[in-house]
């Protein structure tokens, strides 16, 4: 018997979703042909709808019922998977092929403890010789292997008592429990923050070696597989358009589509000619916050209850900061560091201890999600006049309209947008409307909370340019919350880093980025570097 070089061999696989009306639709997978080598980590990259998930589901045998394989074959360790009956197919799952998915928060049954759910895997592939104690042992061993130091305790926990990273580890433990030869990972890190992502990727790599597993790693983000995958394939419209060794593809893409994916992942290459205004730190700040301590659940009832339980409900602890006129102040921090709470406190939306002083009366804000930033029931004209009306600076009739059109034009939007509704606009356009609504109120400070995170590269670049233009021309200060170090480096003269509800570092951007003084800053920067290749 020869040793198979390819543990999985996909031969000219085609797949489509025929319906009664359309028996011959456009194929979802079109002549897909590749092999996964034993022991390698193979990256499968593509935008949503490119067919990468269908490929993985075809290998696992979990295709939706209305999918029809129109041609080709899949071999696993020499066996033709498509020829097996459903029962044998199912027996292979978990035992020979493991899978983990994107959303760890919903991938575990909320009603069952972690231990029970893991035990189910062992009982499903029953091994009569196994006693209950042996099963417990196998599970705790595996939990320890995926990095839990308190494995026994974890067994009795319910999914909602775990963090996102912990849940993903539990899922990995489940998928790896029977030591399958192939582990399919479908975007396992896309909903995790960078620090957690790095640790999960390290874990997978580690398991791959320890358990001699082969990994098929699916992602939409080409740069995310940097330093993780041995080989990378790129899919587009159900076809494999490019495949090569990882280092080659990431540094020197030959295929034009691959190159496009790569540039989109790296916003920095497009940022040119951004000129933020110069800042005079001797003037008095537009915003001064002193000793802010705040948290949720501040109702009397809850406070009494929490006090009885001696729990600290505060998310922010003694945070102080100044924002100076003309300044674009950067704010970074891992998830859960208290950034969002800080913003909500500064905007006066949360009760808090400590003082917030704002020089000018109005303060504007734009948020992360361009979908919910505009009211879907009203058109743009209503939004703009409502903003104007609320600022108390509303004038009459044509004057109002003139101002609205002027502001819109300044934000790169023509007057024809006035009658449009939010759902007729793109994400970038909506964020610009949001800025326009701030601008019409002439605020001294605009707080921008991750405004780029759900925009594509070109829209982000345009929005960034608009922000610096406003900063320069209207002398509007910005407090910019972002995780993108490139952007921070280019437009923020000063930077604040938060961790665990405290400001752990503050200084000029170059100082902070080049010589991080605190450990958490260093860890954050290191993770960013690994994922985004700074």
């Amino acid at each position: 018997m020869t040793r198979h070089i390819h543990i999985v061999k996909v031969h000219h696989l085609s797949l489509s979703f025929p319906t009664k009306k359309n028996p011959n639709p456009k194929p979802v997978l079109d002549d897909v042909d590749f092999g996964i080598r034993d022991g390698e980590i193979l990256g499968l990259i593509g935008n949503s709808g490119s067919g990468k998930t269908m490929t993985s589901l075809a290998i696992a045998g979990l295709l939706p019922e209305n999918a029809e394989i129109t041609g080709g074959s899949i071999k696993f360790a020499g066996n033709d998977l498509l020829a097996l009956d459903p029962k044998e197919r199912r027996a292979m799952l978990g035992r020979d092929i493991g899978m983990i998915f994107q959303e760890p928060s919903t991938a575990l049954d909320p009603l069952m403890t972690v231990g029970k759910q893991l035990e189910e895997i062992l009982t499903a592939h029953k091994d009569p010789s196994m006693t209950s104690e042996m099963r417990q042992k196998t599970i705790t061993d595996m939990l320890e292997l995926v990095g839990f130091t308190n494995a026994v305790e974890i067994l009795g926990r319910y999914p909602h008592q775990l963090s996102g990273g912990q849940r993903q580890r539990v899922l990995i433990a489940g998928a790896a429990l029977l030591k399958p030869r192939l582990l399919i990972c479908d975007e396992p890190t896309s909903s995790l923050d960078t620090v957690t992502t790095v640790s999960i990727l390290e874990l997978l790599k580690d398991l791959c070696h320890k358990l001699h597993m082969t990994i098929l790693f699916i992602s939409h983000d080409l740069s995310a597989v940097r330093g993780f995958c041995d080989r990378v394939m790129v899919m587009k419209d159900g076809k494999i358009v490019d495949k090569d060794v990882a280092s080659e593809i990431l540094t020197n893409p030959k295929n034009s589509y691959t190159a496009e994916l790569l540039t989109n992942a790296r916003l920095d290459t497009r940022i040119l000619g951004l000129e933020p205004a110069t800042v005079d730190y001797s003037t008095s700040p537009v915003l001064t916050a002193k000793g802010i301590t705040a948290g949720y659940g501040r109702s009397l009832f809850e406070r009494v209850k929490k006090k009885a339980e001696k729990k600290d409900t505060n998310i922010l602890h003694d945070v102080s900061l100044d924002v100076y006129p003309n300044e674009i102040l950067g704010l970074i921090g891992g998830s859960g560091s208290g950034k969002t709470t800080l913003i909500r406190t500064l905007l006066g939306l949360l009760p808090h201890e400590g003082s917030v002083k704002i020089k000018s009366s109005s303060i504007g804000a734009i948020f992360q999600d361009p979908v919910s930033c505009l009211n879907p029931s009203h058109n743009i004209k209503w939004h703009m006049s409502e903003a104007l009306r609320a600022s108390g600076k509303a004038a009459k009739g044509t004057d109002t309209m003139a101002r609205i059109t002027a502001v819109l034009e300044e934000c790169g939007l023509s007057a024809e947008f006035l009658s449009r509704r939010p759902d007729e606009l793109s994400g970038g356009q909506r964020q610009r409307i949001a800025i326009a609504m701030c601008l019409i109120q002439k605020p001294a400070l605009i707080i921008a909370d991750e405004p780029f995170s759900s925009l594509d590269a070109s829209s982000s670049a345009e929005l960034l340019k608009l922000m610096t233009d406003i900063n320069r021309e209207h002398h509007t200060a910005f407090l910019l919350i972002t995780h993108n170090i490139h952007i921070v480096r280019q437009i923020c003269p000063r930077l604040i880093v938060m961790h665990d509800g405290r400001i752990c570092e503050e200084g000029t951007t170059t100082d902070v980025l080049n010589n991080p003084k605190s450990e958490s800053t260093a860890a954050l920067l290191e993770a960013e570097r690994q994922i985004h290749g700074i």
Binding site: I363, C373, N375, E386, G392
Partner: protein, 279 residues
Amino acid sequence: MEQKKTKNRSPEASIFYTAGLIFLGIVVAAFIISLFWTPYSPDATDAASKLMAPCLEHPFGTDNFGRDVLSRVMSASKYTLLISGAGVGIALILGTITGVLAGYYGGIIDRGIMLFGNSIMCFPGILLALVAVAVFGPSVGNVIWALGLVFAPTFARVCRVGTMEIKELDYITHARIMGVKPLRIMALHVFPNLTSQLLPATVIGLANMTLFESGMSYLGLGVQPPDASFGKMLSDAQAYIRVAPWLVIFPALMLVFYILGLYFISEGLRVGLTKGGKR
């Protein structure tokens, strides 16, 4: 995945709409025609021709007073539409105002309003409406008020949950930051976005209210004779169920058509609006 779902769903929604509109159309048409013309006067008794089986002169037969059942069914649709419409209107106004207030302010206001609403909902609806009408006397106006009050908490719930969700959205945060007054936020920023939840609830409310109204009329606490209503016609017909089943069948059919029509439309709305919401 989502894309495919919506494609499969829209014909489903339109089937619901069509079926709903046909059923509802029958009742509404009967109502509109009855405003101008009925074959006979719905209240005119005729001792000589009582309990006639359906025939050419009386397509739906006659009742124990010799009244034409077709005419009575037509004029009964008037009360069904009037009571359910007005009752839902009252419930909608009360429920929306309290629900939005509770959802927006939360805290003690929310707890108070919801405690009151939940307490009302602890009575099986029909019981409360029955007692209210029994206390204040049976009349169309009292039925409308009673049902309006009984149904208000349902709408309050829908509005409260909707408001609590919408309140967390960025555009409301925006409005608060811009300094828009709370009442204006609730009326102009929050309320318009509740329509997608309120619309199916309203249609279902119409159907449920009709169920209640006809039940109360059945017990003699709703529309008063000689005026015709489906429930009263059915309760009168019960005595003749063996000799004159047509007295049961035609009002029952019309009643079921109306409710079924509303259910189908609400189903269509639900399917259609979730599709729209996902866009």
